[in-house]
């Protein structure tokens, strides 16, 4: 028989010092999820410039991509997306009953892999852009 745990409400963020790895994973998943859905609405709005014409679309995208801050935000978006994907796979596995006993280790692995992929992507994202 597995033991039953009661760790209290995770929504009570004031208890953050008591949070375990799995609770941090839950919070990071929610945070990155909010970022991604917010971005999706923004993304479709920007892409909708295509409705105004070919030149409006090309100029808008290339104008945004010429900004350093946009490239920086793209690196952030990649980090958010990679973590959400990796932790999402971890959650799907746990739902299937796989790896529950190692769920804290897979959370740390998700963080490390996210960090590595993000750092490795910086040269690509920062190509042909200046301050």
């Amino acid at each position: 028989m597995s033991q039953s745990y009661n760790r209290g409400l995770i929504e009570d963020f004031g208890r953050w010092k008591e949070f375990s790895a799995g609770m941090w994973a839950w919070i990071f998943h929610k945070f990155t999820g909010w970022m991604l859905i917010g971005y999706l609405f923004t993304h479709i709005a920007v892409l909708s410039t295509a409705i105004a014409g070919e030149q409006a679309y090309t100029n808008t995208l290339q104008g945004l991509e010429a900004l350093f801050v946009v490239r920086l935000l793209e690196v952030g978006l990649l980090a958010v997306a990679v973590f959400h994907i990796l932790n999402g796979i971890r959650l799907l596995m746990v739902d299937l009953g796989i790896g529950l006993e190692a769920q804290d280790k897979t959370f740390y692995a998700s963080l490390i892999i996210t960090g590595a992929i993000t750092v490795a992507s910086v040269p690509t994202f920062m190509t042909e852009v200046g301050f």
Partner: protein
């Protein structure tokens, strides 16, 4: 059995759809990022390049499915996060209505843009 701690009522349709869309999105979001930031580069994107990709019916259908599943997954996630924060009663019904309308509007807008790229509108 260990006590279950999940954002969703297990066994419900929303619970299942959240996971089915997750499995699809894990693959397609990674593909989307890789294609448009590492194979092609975002700063080189033009209307012509996007339209050329959208000419491929498989790519076009995948992107439409991507839009629909991402919208459902994201908005359903937000809705359930708000319920976890204590949203209930009439405010819950209002939020559900607003989120549903916003989702349908986003999907309609995205499909419209995709049809523009395919030269169908």
């Amino acid at each position: 059995m260990a006590e279950r701690y999940s954002s969703f009522a297990p066994g419900g349709t929303a619970w299942l759809l959240q996971r089915v869309t997750a499995a699809f999105l894990v693959v397609v979001l990674a593909y989307h990022f890789f294609l448009l930031h590492f194979v092609n580069h975002a700063w080189e994107i033009t209307f012509g390049g996007t339209a050329a990709r959208m000419e491929n019916i498989g790519y076009f259908v995948t992107m439409i499915l991507f839009l629909i599943t991402a919208t459902f997954h994201g908005v359903n996630g937000v809705y359930n996060a708000l319920i976890n924060q204590g949203l209930s009663g009439t405010p819950r019904k209002i939020v559900l209505g607003v989120l549903t309308i916003a989702s349908l509007a986003l999907i309609a807008q995205g499909i419209w843009v995709a049809l523009v790229w395919r030269g169908m509108m």
